[in-house]
C-alpha cells in the first residue's frame, strides 16, 4: 500500500536509509514547521540529512479521522508539569507529535509579523529588539507564502501591506459575525484568510471542502503542514526522516563541538546518530528540555546555556475566546476555524495604558472543545451544560490573540518526574505581568464589544493561551541570548536551534509562517556557509542571498499578487 499524504499525494518511496554507522552532515531533531522546511532545503542543496521525529510518520488516509476525539494522538500527550500564576495548558492546546509537528494541527492562520515586532524595545521600551529586521525576513515571508501557499485577500492593510497568492475563502457563519460586528464599530477586517489552506487545488493537493476539522489534521490535504508541503520533496532529494525516534541527548566531542544525537527508537532501544552539525527543532518546550538534559562536563547548566537564558523568556499569546449567542443559527463547525481577522489593535496605542496590542480572529470549536469553553466561560455543568450545548448551533466564537511580553520568570526547566525513557520531563512556569494583564483585559472587552455589535444576545468569555515561543531566544549579545540571528548557538559552533523557541518577542500574529520563514533563511545561511559550518569555529554573520531555486515543485511564481 502506498503511504498516503492526502487523497492524491503519496510518499516518494523508497526513502533513503543511512546506515547506523554513517556520519551525516546534519541531524535535525524534530520535523515540525521549522524542521520540515530545513530538511527539505538542506537535502535539495545536496547535504546528507537525517531528521529524527519523536512521533509517527502519518499516513493521512489510514491514521487520521474526521473526528474530534479520534484525533487526540496528533498532540504531544506525554507528561509535562505546568505551573505558575497562570499555568499553560499544553498537549492539544499547542504541541504536536509526529511528522509535520504542530503544523499538522495548527488552525493555519498565516499572518506576517509587523515591522514593529522586530524592534519593540526601541519603539515601545518593552521586551527586546530582534537581532534582525522585518526587511531581512520579508523575502522569506513572500517565498513561504507561495510554497505553503497562503490564501487571503489581495489587500492586507496592516503592518507591511501585502497580498496573497491564493484567493480568499468564502465566509462561514463565524466570519460573518466578525465582519459584521467590526464593521458596525468602524474596525477594518479582512476575510477569507490569510490562512495556509488551499482555496484552489495546488499540485497534488485538493482545495478546501469547508468541513471545519483543521485542528484535527486535514485529511483533505488542503491545509498546509510540512508533512505534505516539504517532507515529500525532502525525501525525493535523499533525506531520511526517522520517525518514532525520541532524541535523549546531544553528545559533544573532546574539542567542544557537537558529535551527534542519542535517541530512543519505538521499542526503547538506544541509538547514536553521528553528524557534523546538529539542528534542534523541537519547539519551545522540547528544545530547551533536550539541551538541559544534555548537560555534561563543561556545560553543567545544559548545552548552549552559558548565558543562563536557556529555557527562559518563554511566551504564549493571550488566546481568550469570546462566545456570543445569537437568536439565529450560526453552525460554527462549518468552514475553516481560521478565516477572518482584524489587526486594527496590533500596534501600541499611546491612549491605552499598556504597550503592544492584539488581533481579533475567528475560531471554530467542535463540540468537545466548545463544551470545555462553556465549562470555563459559564461555569456550566449538569442540566445547565446539557441545555447550553443544545444551543451549540446558535453560538459564534471569536478569539483574542494578544502579545504577551518576554519575561525571565516564564520558563522551561526539568521536573523531577521522568518519562517512559527515564528522561526528566519539562516543567513549565508561566506568570502574567502587569502589561499582559492590562492588554488582556482591554482585548477581551474589545472583542466582547464586537460580539455585542454583531447582534449577540448573550456574550461570555474564557481565559486561555495560544501558541508557545521563546525559551532559546536569538540575540546579538551572547550573555543575554542563546543563539545568533541565524539560529547558531553562541556556545557551540556546529549546534543550531531553529524553531519557535528562538523568537525574542512574538507580536500578535500566529507564529507558524514566521517560524517557517526563519527556517528557510537559516537553511540559506547554512548552504551559503557550506563546509565551514563543519570545519570552522568562525562566525560569519553576513546575510545569505535568498535561494529561489530550492522551493518544492509547483511553487514558482513571479511574486505575490497584491493591489494598492
Amino acid at each position: 500500500m502506498p503511504h498516503r499524504l492526502g487523497p492524491m499525494q503519496t510518499l516518494p518511496l523508497p526513502m533513503h536509509r543511512f546506515a547506523e554507522t554513517e556520519t551525516v552532515d546534519y541531524c535535525i531533531v524534530g520535523v515540525g514547521s521549522a524542521g520540515g522546511v530545513l530538511v527539505q532545503r538542506l537535502a535539495r542543496a545536496g547535504f546528507r540529512v537525517v531528521a529524527l521525529e519523536a512521533g509517527p510518520f502519518w499516513d493521512t488516509e489510514n491514521d487520521w479521522v474526521s473526528d474530534e476525539k479520534g484525533s487526540h494522538n496528533l498532540y504531544w500527550n506525554d507528561l509535562r508539569i505546568t505551573g505558575g500564576t497562570h499555568p499553560l495548558a499544553l498537549g492539544a492546546n499547542n504541541s504536536g507529535k509526529g511528522v509535520g509537528g504542530g503544523s499538522v494541527h495548527w488552525a493555519a492562520f498565516a499572518p506576517r509579523f509587523h515591522p514593529s515586532d522586530f524592534r519593540v524595545y526601541t519603539q515601545d521600551g518593552v521586551g527586546v529588539d530582534w537581532p534582525m529586521s522585518y526587511w531581512d525576513l520579508k523575502p522569506y515571508y513572500e517565498l513561504l507564502e507561495r510554497e505553503i501557499p497562503v490564501a487571503g485577500p489581495a489587500w492586507f492593510p496592516w503592518g507591511d501591506p501585502h497580498g496573497h497568492p491564493y484567493g480568499p475563502h468564502p465566509l462561514g457563519g463565524v466570519g460573518d459575525v466578525l465582519v459584521r460586528g467590526c464593521t458596525r464599530l468602524g474596525i477594518r477586517t479582512v476575510a477569507g484568510g490569510p490562512v495556509a489552506i488551499l482555496s484552489a487545488s495546488h499540485g497534488d493537493r485538493p482545495h478546501c471542502i469547508y468541513r471545519g476539522f483543521c485542528i484535527q489534521g486535514c485529511k483533505v490535504g488542503a491545509k498546509a503542514s510540512t508533512l505534505i508541503t516539504h517532507v515529500p520533496d525532502a525525501i525525493k532529494h535523499g533525506a531520511e526522516i526517522r520517525s518514532h525516534s525520541m532524541a535523549s541527548r546531544i553528545m559533544l566531542r573532546k574539542d567542544g563541538r557537537v558529535d551527534g544525537v542519542m535517541y530512543f527508537d519505538r521499542d526503547g532501544g538506544e541509538h547514536f546518530q553521528r553528524s557534523r552539525a546538529v539542528i534542534v527543532s523541537g519547539y519551545a518546550i522540547e528544545t530547551p528540555r533536550l539541551l538541559l538534559n544534555s548537560a555534561c562536563s563543561g556545560h553543567w547548566q545544559g548545552l548552549a546555556n552559558s548565558s543562563g537564558t536557556l529555557g527562559k523568556y518563554l511566551m504564549a499569546q493571550a488566546g481568550n475566546v469570546v462566545a456570543g449567542r445569537f437568536d439565529e443559527l450560526i453552525r460554527l463547525y462549518k468552514a475553516p476555524p481560521a478565516h477572518a481577522l482584524s489587526e486594527e489593535f496590533y500596534e501600541t496605542d499611546k491612549r491605552r495604558d499598556f504597550a503592544r496590542g492584539f488581533a481579533v480572529q475567528t475560531v471554530g470549536p467542535l463540540p468537545i472543545a466548545f463544551a470545555k469553553q462553556m465549562i470555563a466561560a459559564m461555569g456550566a455543568w449538569g442540566w445547565g451544560l446539557r441545555r447550553v450545548m443544545m444551543d451549540y448551533n446558535h453560538w459564534a466564537t471569536l478569539g483574542v490573540l494578544g502579545e504577551i511580553l518576554p519575561w525571565e520568570d516564564n520558563r522551561v526547566e526539568l521536573a523531577k518526574e521522568k518519562d517512559q525513557h527515564g528522561l526528566p520531563v519539562a516543567k513549565v512556569t508561566f506568570n502574567l505581568h502587569d502589561n499582559d494583564k492590562k492588554l488582556i483585559e482591554f482585548g477581551k472587552n474589545k472583542v466582547m464589544e464586537i460580539m455585542w455589535a454583531a447582534g449577540a444576545q448573550q456574550v461570555v468569555q474564557e481565559s486561555r493561551f495560544a501558541h508557545l515561543v521563546g525559551a532559546a531566544r536569538m540575540g546579538s549579545d551572547p550573555s543575554t541570548s542563546v543563539v545568533d540571528k541565524f539560529g547558531r548557538t553562541h556556545d557551540i559552533p556546529n549546534l543550531f536551534i531553529c524553531d519557535g523557541s528562538i523568537l525574542p518577542t512574538q507580536g500578535s500574529a500566529n507564529p507558524g509562517l514566521t517560524i517557517q520563514a526563519l527556517a528557510a533563511r537559516t537553511a540559506d545561511y547554512l548552504i551559503r556557509q557550506g563546509d565551514s559550518i563543519f570545519l570552522s569555529n568562525q562566525r560569519d554573520l553576513t546575510e545569505p542571498e535568498i535561494r529561489y531555486d530550492l522551493s518544492p515543485p509547483y511553487t514558482n511564481f513571479k511574486g505575490n499578487p497584491r493591489i494598492a
Binding site: 489510514n62 491514521d63 487520521w64 479521522v65 474526521s66 473526528d67 474530534e68 476525539k69 479520534g70 487526540h72 504531544w76 500527550n77 507528561l79 509535562r80 508539569i81 505551573g83 499555568p87 495548558a89 499544553l90 498537549g91 492539544a92 492546546n93 499547542n94 494541527h105 492562520f109 462561514g172 457563519g173 471542502i209 468541513r211 476539522f213 485542528i215 488566546g319 475566546v321 443559527l329 453552525r331 462549518k334 470549536p365 463540540p367 468537545i368 472543545a369 466548545f370 463544551a371 470545555k372 465549562i375 470555563a376 466561560a377 461555569g379 456550566a380 455543568w381 449538569g382 442540566w383 445547565g384 451544560l385 441545555r387 443544545m390 451549540y392 466564537t397 478569539g399 461570555v460 486561555r464
Partner: protein, 250 residues
C-alpha cells in the same frame, strides 16, 4: 449499575425516556456514515458499538463514580437504550494512562485525582446527609457537587487541602464532556453535522442546514424543577477564573 437505579423524581415526565433529546428531531449523523471515509466510519462505529470494560476502578468505585457522572452530565431524559456511556471512556483513559499532555504542579496524577476526589465526595455525603453519595436523592447529590462547582466544598474535606477543588472539578467535567460530546447521539442532540470527509459542507453561511442536516425545531425545554445545576444568569462565578480553556482553538 445504571442511573435508573437512582431516584429520578426530579425529572419532569415531559423530558423522560427520549430516544433523542434536543431540537433536531429525526437528525442522525450515523445515518450519514456511508459518506464518511473508512477510518472514520470504523472509529465512530466502534465508539457506538463497543463499550470498554471496567478494569481500573473497583466495582464499588465504579458505582460511586457512575452516580457522580450521572449528575455532572445527567441523562435522565434519555431512554436506557440511548444512554451514552461516560465512565467506561474515562476508565479506559486512566487504565491505559492516556494523558492530555500536562499535569498541574499542584495536582496528583489523574488516576490518583479520581480516587481521592470520588472518595472525598462520598465522605462529604456521609458527613452532611448521613448516607452514601450513591443513596442520596438526586437533589442532595447535586447540592454536594454544586459546592465543588462553586469552589466552596460543603462540608469541608481534607482532600481539598491537598488537591485544588476547581482543578479536580475541571478534570472531571472535561473528561465527561469528552466522552459525551464525542458520541454521535450527542451530535444528533445538538444538531452538529459530524464527520465530513470526503463530502464536506456546501452551505456555510446564515446557519443553513445541508440537505442531509435538519433545521432546528425549538420547544420549551425544562430542566427538572428542583435542579441546582442550571447556569446562573451572570455566567461563571468568580471562583472559576482559574479554570482555563484546554481546547486548541487558534
Amino acid at each position: 449499575m445504571s442511573r435508573k437505579s437512582f431516584p429520578i423524581r426530579s425529572s419532569g415526565d415531559e423530558i423522560r425516556d427520549l430516544d433523542q433529546p434536543g431540537y433536531y428531531a429525526g437528525f442522525s449523523t450515523m445515518a450519514q456514515r456511508k459518506y464518511w471515509d473508512q477510518t472514520t466510519q470504523d472509529v465512530v462505529s466502534d465508539r457506538v458499538q463497543e463499550t470498554p470494560s471496567i478494569q481500573f476502578f473497583s466495582a464499588q468505585e465504579a458505582t460511586l463514580l457512575t452516580a457522580i457522572i450521572d449528575r455532572v452530565i445527567p441523562q435522565d431524559d434519555r431512554s436506557a437504550a440511548r444512554t451514552i456511556p461516560i465512565l467506561p471512556f474515562i476508565e479506559e483513559r486512566l487504565y491505559s494512562n492516556l494523558l492530555n499532555g500536562f499535569r498541574y504542579e499542584d495536582m496528583p496524577t489523574d488516576q490518583e485525582a479520581y480516587r481521592l476526589g470520588s472518595a472525598a465526595i462520598d465522605e462529604m455525603a456521609r458527613t452532611r446527609f448521613e448516607q452514601s453519595f450513591v443513596d442520596l436523592s438526586v437533589n442532595r447529590q447535586e447540592l454536594i457537587l454544586k459546592s465543588l462547582h462553586d469552589g466552596k466544598p460543603d462540608p469541608e474535606h481534607a482532600t481539598w487541602q491537598r488537591m485544588p477543588v476547581h482543578r479536580f472539578w475541571g478534570l472531571l467535567l472535561e473528561d465527561c464532556v469528552t466522552a459525551y460530546y464525542s458520541h454521535p447521539w450527542a451530535w444528533d442532540e445538538i444538531g452538529y453535522g459530524g464527520p465530513a470527509y470526503p463530502r464536506g459542507y456546501m452551505r456555510l453561511e446564515n446557519g443553513l442546514a445541508e440537505p442531509w442536516e435538519k433545521t432546528e425545531q425549538r420547544y420549551d425545554w425544562k430542566p427538572p424543577a428542583d435542579s441546582v445545576s442550571e447556569i446562573d444568569a451572570q455566567g461563571a462565578p468568580l471562583e472559576h477564573e482559574p479554570l482555563q480553556g484546554h481546547g486548541g482553538t487558534h
